[in-house]
């Protein structure tokens, strides 16, 4: 039996390999253990891991540019931004039609806001231009309608572009469906009662594409039948633009006459570049185009660069202008202040924990309740109490003035600065330091100190060489707890921190709720998370996480 080990795998009594038997026997146990943790696991996944992951994902997500301006991004791909020249006419053309659809879907302002994070002024440029896009179409509609009143009628347009019994360009239809879906963050499926004619797509590509996009949008988003609806002002622009160069000879059908007539009329229209320059002179500079091109990727490092006071430029990564550099300072400040808070918690908490661990049970329990008392009071109340205590007309200053230590005119500034934050947060986080220290100290028998003294050590030597080293795991556990809590603290610095004593979390909250720059907030949060994990790792390497005891 035992000698089988030498000849091959050890076998169980039924002849199957022992390893497999053992695995089978353990599987049941594992499944049961998994079933026990499953409810919590699912709860945590749904309410914690998944939302945080999706939130943090926003720090790199950037598909809004290519979703809103797909053809512009395509046209800009080959443009060399670093020369400082304006992009070619095709870019302006693509921009006009992309922007028109986005403006109809009211999505262009969102893109403006996104790009404004990278280049100030883009937001208002987009918003204002969105209102003026119609002007070009109206200038062209008038001569068209004078030429032939049929152009006023939506059915005329439908009859021109709809494939009817001819072959249809289904691929174009699908592309436009996807485009509308991406733009509106919703599905663009369902019957649109329209199929672009393949012949028209060949002869009049811009116009057919614009009409298809319009038809899909009208049918899926507005719920109207494109056959009976009057098209947008962008379509005359597209048609007249196409007819400048189109060859109509290959076409047939009733629409050909109309088109030939229109082509012959040769309605005057400005270049798209000229029109954009007319709308806003900023379009005639390279800057907005550089911004769009630089940030056209689906994923971006832009938010992370912003989070460390840098930005992406056509020339590469560069620091933000000095007056906008605040985040790195804030990170460093958060780190230093958290360390200061951790340090003062150790200094204040250690004697208390020692006392707790060495007092008789009854008195220790009373003291422990006093330590825990703050937990029974709302965090907001405690922080507000510090506001009352520390402000210039507050209790502490009043007392100092009253006993004559401080002149009435020179009351100490103890709040709305780093001092206030450190004092209030030390108070609030102190129990998190005391409790782990206490539970570790409780396990150190008093006989160690006695032994040290009987061996000839003075009180101090006995403490420092024998007691203290054994209490270090408690300090470690308390420090990790306090530091990690402090580094992400929000309410207290918000209330007592003023401008000088706020943490990075206050900035994150600002970007989440006020500036709505969620990408930057997510990037800041990710950096904070990474910093904590790195510090944790470093702590593990230096102190050893095995040395941390919570009891």
């Amino acid at each position: 039996m035992a000698d089988t080990a030498a000849n091959g795998p050890v076998l169980a009594a039924d002849g199957s390999p022992l390893k497999r038997s053992l695995g089978r026997a353990l599987r049941r146990q594992k499944l049961r253990a998994l079933a026990l943790v499953a409810p919590l696991l699912i709860f945590v996944l749904i309410t914690f891991i998944f939302p945080i992951a999706s939130m943090l994902f926003r720090s790199v997500q950037n598909d809004i540019v290519s979703n809103t301006l797909p053809y512009t991004v395509q046209a800009l791909a080959n443009w060399d931004a670093s020369t400082g020249d304006l992009p070619p006419e095709q870019v302006f053309e693509a921009m006009y039609f992309d922007m028109f659809l986005a403006a109809e879907a009211k999505r262009h302002t969102r893109l403006g806001t996104r790009l404004n994070y990278e280049q100030t002024g883009v937001s208002s440029l987009f918003r204002q231009s969105g209102r003026k896009l119609d002007d070009l179409g109206k200038d062209i509609e008038k001569p068209m309608n004078r030429l032939n009143a049929a152009w006023k009628d939506g059915e005329t347009w439908y009859s021109i572009f709809d494939a009817g019994t001819d072959s249809a360009d289904t691929q174009l239809l699908q592309v436009q469906r996807n485009r509308v879906a991406a733009l509106t963050d919703g599905p663009a499926s369902g019957d649109v009662n329209f199929a672009p004619s393949a012949a028209m797509a060949q002869a009049l590509p811009t116009a057919t594409r614009a009409y298809t996009a319009w038809a899909v949008y009208t049918a899926t988003q507005d719920g109207k039948d494109p056959a009976t609806t009057d098209p947008w002002e962008a379509l005359p622009v597209a048609l007249v633009h196409d007819l400048k160069t189109a060859d109509l000879s290959g076409l047939n059908g009733p629409a050909v006459d109309l088109l030939t007539e229109l082509q012959a009329a040769n309605i005057e229209m400005p270049t798209f570049a000229g029109f954009f320059a007319d709308m806003d002179e900023d379009w005639a500079t390279a800057t907005p185009w550089q911004t769009i091109q630089t940030h056209s990727g689906i994923y971006t490092s832009g938010y992370f660069l912003n989070a460390v006071d840098a930005q992406k430029t056509p020339e590469g990564i560069a620091w933000q202008p000095e007056d906008k550099q605040i985040l790195l300072t804030l990170f460093v400040r958060t780190l230093i202040m958290s360390l200061a808070i951790t340090g003062s918690c150790i200094l204040l908490g250690y004697p208390i924990a020692w006392l707790l661990a060495n007092l008789p049970m009854r008195q220790a329990n009373v003291l422990l309740i006093l330590v825990l008392l703050p937990f029974w009071t709302s965090l907001l109340v405690r922080t507000s109490a510090w506001k009352v205590m520390l402000q210039q007309q507050g209790v502490i200053n009043d007392v100092l003035v009253w006993i004559g230590l401080v002149d009435d005119a020179e009351r100490l500034i103890m709040i709305n600065n780093q001092f206030g934050t450190i004092v209030a947060m030390t108070h609030i986080l102190l129990p998190f330091m005391i409790l782990p220290m206490y539970s570790v100290m409780q396990t150190i028998p008093p006989s160690y100190l006695r032994a040290a003294k009987s061996l000839g050590a003075t009180n101090w030597t006995a403490f420092w060489r024998v007691y203290f080293p054994q209490s270090v795991p408690g300090i470690g556990a308390g420090s990790i707890l306090v530091f990690i809590l402090a580094i992400g603290y929000y309410i207290t610095p918000e209330i007592v921190g003023g401008t000088k004593g706020v943490f990075i979390s206050n900035r994150i909250a600002y970007h989440i709720s006020s500036s709505l720059n969620w990408g930057l907030a997510a990037a800041l949060g990710s950096i904070l998370l990474a910093a904590v994990l790195i510090l944790y790792w470093a702590y593990d390497r230096i102190v050893g996480i095995d040395n941390v005891k919570l009891g």
């Binding site: 028998p445 006989s447 160690y448 006695r450 032994a451 040290a452 003294k453 009987s454 061996l455 000839g456 050590a457 003075t458 009180n459 030597t461 006995a462 060489r465 024998v466 080293p469 054994q470």
Partner: protein, 366 residues
């Protein structure tokens, strides 16, 4: 010990009292003196005050009243670290964050000893307990017995003249305890150090000590060498506490020539040696060791009183037989007989007659 100078008291307790709460005395009027080189054991049930005495000697508790002297000097106001007393604790109290060598080095470092001198002393101390190979280990990597050896070495490494041990073998198994008992006594005698040893294990006390102080209720009930303690207990507490013992209650009838006649509560008359009784009419509790009870009438004095007894139980224990009898209305009278070829094996229900030499039966306080 032959030298008269060493006979002089080295450790002295004089009228020492100790109270923790101001209402009850844990130690009541303790007087004790031991000469240099003596191995004294404080034996007693828990709560008898023996550990408190040890802690007062070590300096971790202060005496409420009285004087404790070490080598003629009062140490009441000397802090523990200046007393120079080695101490071995019940749970060993080896510093877990230091290696064995560092543990031993600690008392030498605080005495500002040079490195080479320290190393030499550490190796010598480890040698004394045969633990030289374990210098680099952590206490947690050692077994209980090894830890106790290291604790002993640590208490001896700085060459104290007095070593205190607070139930040092309490946590060890029986066999290891016996080995270490022997080692500790040997070391103490070889090094000529004075030892105060606290235990509640009477076997330990009897086998190790020069003298044993039996504690109860905050007082020393008897201070005597082990043999005297066993054979001549001064009162019924000591008689009960040390070894196995039979007791019978009665009243003294008369005392003649150092022999007392005691009438038991059942009416029988027995012979006893008066210890704590002086005149007829006093109530007394007589005490007799199970192995001193005689069943063979031929070996007793012809005029000795005997008692009728009924065998209730017979237990074969290998080297001895242990028989439980009903005697004078008491159901737990034990006798022990050697397993000799001629020794009868009694059966339950058998009626026998027992007696003893008057000097083996001690009439103590009631």
């Amino acid at each position: 010990m032959a030298d008269s100078a060493t006979k002089q008291a080295f450790v002295e307790f004089e009228r020492v009292q100790k109270s923790y709460d101001g209402e009850t005395l844990v130690v009541k009027d303790l007087n004790l003196s031991l000469p240099q080189g003596e191995f004294l054991t404080m034996l007693g049930p828990s709560g008898s005050g023996k550990t408190t005495c040890l802690m007062m000697l070590a300096g971790f508790e202060t005496a409420t009243h009285g004087d404790i002297r070490l080598d003629g000097v009062s140490i009441n106001n000397i802090p523990p670290h200046k007393r120079g007393i080695g101490m071995v604790f019940q749970n060993y109290a080896l510093f877990p964050h230091m290696t064995v060598a560092e543990n031993l080095s600690f008392p030498l470092e605080v005495r500002k000893m040079g490195k080479s001198e320290r190393e030499e002393k550490i190796m010598r101390a480890l040698g004394m307990v045969q633990m030289q190979d374990f210098a680099g280990r952590r206490p947690t990597q050692l077994s209980g017995g090894q830890q106790q050896r290291i604790a002993l070495a640590r208490a001896l490494v700085f060459e104290p003249e007095l070593v205190l041990m607070d139930e040092p073998l309490g946590a060890l198994d029986k066999q290891l305890r016996e080995t270490l008992q022997f080692e500790i006594t040997r070391l103490a005698h070889d090094l000529g150090i004075t030892t105060v040893y606290v235990t509640h294990d009477q076997t330990e006390a009897l086998t190790m000590s020069d003298r044993v102080a039996v504690f109860d209720d905050g007082r020393i009930q008897q201070l005597a060498p082990p043999d005297k303690l066993y054979e001549e207990p001064q009162n019924s507490f000591v008689a009960q506490f040390i070894g196995e013992n039979n007791t019978l209650d009665g009243v003294v009838k008369e005392i003649n020539n150092g022999v007392a006649l005691v009438q038991l509560d059942g009416g029988d008359i027995i012979d006893a040696k008066p210890i704590n009784v002086s005149k007829p009419g006093e109530r007394t509790r007589v005490s007799i060791r199970p192995e001193r009870v005689e069943m063979n009438k031929d070996r007793l004095n012809p005029d000795a009183h005997t008692l009728k007894a009924e065998v209730l139980e017979f237990v074969y224990m290998g080297d001895i037989f242990r028989t439980r009898l009903r005697v004078a209305g008491v159901d737990d009278f034990i006798i022990k007989t050697r397993n000799a070829p001629d020794q009868a094996r009694l059966k339950p229900g058998e009626q026998i007659e027992i007696g003893w030499m008057a000097e083996d039966c001690r009439a103590l306080d009631a």
